[in-house]
Symmetry: C2
């Protein structure tokens, strides 16, 4: 299961790095403890709506953009999960007995 | 300040109503207390990543779609906020003195 706080953390970190800002700078501007912001970026803590609003403002990035980026990352994960489920249904993990026990076809001379 | 939990609550409620499901049904499927889900929908409680994943699954709706819908709602709010700020800068609240004290132009006869 994909946890959205991991994706949110990645997005906040990516936005910060794109802005060339340090954790310390963003934490200071957002009035959030540095260790707490670091835990949010690593997906270890859920950010409240108030903290998210402060961090987005400190990053000079609309919260809508952050939410859309999280949505985009989730699309990728959901696509991969679906693909895995599809492959698991279509391609068997083991070679079926009827294929394993079938006599080898002679290779046709050309 | 727009709090994202209000938008998230509205989106979850809208998705549920579009699916024609009751609070009780979704709470049951998601293994979340009915009162808690109701508070999330009303934007009174933050939903953890685990709760969000369960509710999205109970709603048979990808979490990516929910995040994109929240992003779309935030765009509207941000647009309205910007518009208010713009209007506040451009259109003064009071009639400026030079306009108030200027002699009335005679109305041209036609």
């Amino acid at each position: 299961m994909v946890l959205v706080r991991h994706e949110m953390g990645e997005v906040l970190r990516n936005v910060r790095l794109r802005k060339g800002a340090t954790l310390r700078q963003v934490a200071g501007r957002a009035s959030v403890a540095l260790g707490y912001l670091s835990e949010i970026e690593r997906g270890q803590k859920e950010a409240s709506s108030e903290i998210l609003a402060s961090v987005a403002e400190a990053l000079e990035t609309p919260l809508s953009q952050i939410y859309h980026e999280v949505g985009d990352r989730l699309v990728v994960h959901e696509g991969l999960e679906q693909r895995e489920q599809r492959l698991a249904g279509v391609i068997p993990d083991t070679v079926p007995d009827d294929i394993l026990n079938s006599p080898r076809e002679p290779i046709a001379a050309h």
